[in-house]
Amino acid sequence: MSEIMTDGQGMALAAEGITVKLRSNAKITWEKFLQHKLAVVASLFLLTLAALCFLAPLIAPFEFDAIDLANIRKPPSAKHLLGTDALGRDLLTRLLYGGRISITIGLTAAMLGTAIGTLIGSMAGYFGGRIDNLLMRLTDLAYSIPTLPLIIVISSYSNTQAVGIVMIIGFFSWMQTSRVVRGAILSVKENEYVTAARALGSKDRLIIVRHVLPNISNSIIVGATLGVGNAIITESSLSFLGLGVSPPTPTWGNMLMDSQATMSSQPWLTIFPGMAILLTVLCVNFIGDGLQDALDPTL
């Protein structure tokens, strides 16, 4: 045995003498995420923003539907920090209340869409053959349906509460993810570690969860981060058509839509909700970036 011990540094230590603690993957990932400065800043910012929005009833200076006809379309001032809208409602207050719905819809609808897309894409890619054909034709079908008109039809028959909107957006935003996931899995499943797992008798479910999905997490995370922005925008389109969350309840989307006509004369009505959406999507992207790096052990 001694002649082939070239890479057994420290072999003198007996196995039982060494106390190696197995660091859990979650802990390693968390430590690496904390090293990604931009992602940490983005997480803190987003958490703060979300906290402010969800505490809106406690901290907002006005009621979100308090109409003040004496002070309509006022630019930012000491009394109304971000100005007022066409009905004299305080923009800051509406932004905070609107964030509750927009952030919730953005994150949950994107999660739902990503979950459905990952499930369908991984089954199609992993099992291949007939299952692949069936699921991919289903994806093509879902893709070829013009989404917006269909969403309009569905939402006009269902309640337009936030939960309904999340469902509708989630169920119509999984196709891209499923295609990307399928493609990534087609290449990952050819790796010999997948064959090794099969030779060891692993169940398909375990192979997908343990060996395949972690190796395509990049594609999934990218899809999910894009999904957040898309969901917020889709909600605003629905609001614009009067099918989203109904007024007077504010969302960033319907605030942005309401301000379109007066974009040049009262730009603050457009800029602030726009910035809110932009910053949220940007933060989610940075967090996604950090997550990708943290999950990759080679970095």
């Binding site: 420290g10 230590l13 030779a199 008798g201 972690p214």
Partner: protein
């Protein structure tokens, strides 16, 4: 001496065909990767399986392990036909039959630590084992393959090819197998590292009483490790005999050509005896030639060779060959 030993594995008429390129409006063509294999593997021996790239040797190994469903034929392991088993019954045999891969890079999941990679077989087969016990077992296995047990926390990319190959071996050993298909385990390694890995495999064979099917295309390494050697050409075994017999008294013209092509590390000899390569290419396994598959390239081919497929028979004791001219 070997014929007194028990047969561990009996392969009978094993075929594996793949259909490729089929579509909605296109008929799939059939790749006859493995086209009728008959051989036995004895308890404790190493059977070398050699052949050119694409001759179906890896497919044969993987079909024996039921990683591919065979198109035809049977595989008897200890007398039980494992091709007929359902998933659950097969799980017991998954512990007994293992595989070591060629590519030490794609055979280890880059997202898992070495400890988790080696402990995975225990998760599947010993679900009641505690995390700590699995980790201790993984450390023991690392020692067995001459690696530092503290490597359990590291990731595969931190290791060299030879070290990775040892990790792959440790994973296969975790289930305490009886039979291991070694799918070109050293072809991707440096020559100096090859010897180390082969030595390790030989040691493990002695201590753990393993039986190997050693797939390779390096004839000198196969001669070193094998007890018997089988030569494959286009999905069929053309010759199978004891190691020294096949290297010293080859019968099949293809085996002879392969042996002539072994490079000699002596420039003066090499210059005086230039290698005469075989004419032509290996035919496509989609359209194998009529008669003997080797006939289009065979220097001895007669009319019968182009018409009739030769039978694979025991030409002399323990020496099987498929050739009309022998």
């Amino acid at each position: 001496m070997l014929d007194k030993q028990a047969k561990l594995l009996e392969v009978r008429g094993l075929k594996k065909h793949f259909s490729v390129g089929g579509g909605l409006f296109k008929k799939a063509s059939l790749v006859q990767a493995v086209n009728g294999l008959d051989f036995d593997i004895y308890q404790g021996e190493t059977l070398g399986l050699v052949g050119e790239s694409g001759c179906g040797k890896s497919t044969a190994g993987r079909t024996i392990l039921q990683l591919y469903k065979p198109t035809a034929g049977s595989i008897l392991y200890d007398g039980v036909d494992i091709t007929a088993l359902d998933r659950k019954a097969m799980l017991e045999y998954r512990r007994k039959l293992q595989i070591i891969f060629q590519d030490p890079y794609s055979s280890l999941n880059p997202r898992l630590t070495v400890g988790n990679i080696i402990a995975e077989p225990l998760m599947i087969h010993h679900g009641d084992m505690s995390r700590q016990d699995r980790l201790d077992f993984a450390k023991e296995l690392l020692m067995k393959v001459n690696l530092d047990p503290s490597f359990v926390n590291r990731y595969p990319h931190e290791f060299s090819g030879g070290q990775r190959q040892r990790i792959g071996i440790a994973r296969a050993l975790a289930v305490e197998p009886e039979f291991i298909v070694c799918d070109e385990p050293i072809s991707a390694l440096d020559v100096s590292v090859q010897a180390q890995v082969v030595t390790l495999m030989e040691e493990l064979q002695d201590t753990m009483n393993l039986t190997y099917l050693f797939i390779a295309h390096d004839l000198s390494m196969v001669r070193h490790i094998s007890d018997r050697v089988a030569v494959m050409y286009l999905g069929k075994i053309v010759e199978l005999a004891d190691r020294d017999e096949i290297y010293e008294k080859p019968q099949h013209p293809y085996t002879k050509a392969l042996l002539r092509a072994i490079p000699v590390p002596d420039p003066i000899y090499a210059e005086a005896n230039p290698i005469q390569p075989l004419e032509g290419e290996v035919p496509s396994p989609i359209h194998p030639p009529q008669g003997c598959y080797f006939s289009p390239r065979c220097p001895l081919a007669q009319p019968i060779c182009h018409e009739q497929s030769p039978e694979y028979v025991e030409k002399s004791p323990r020496h099987f060959c498929a050739c009309h001219m022998v």
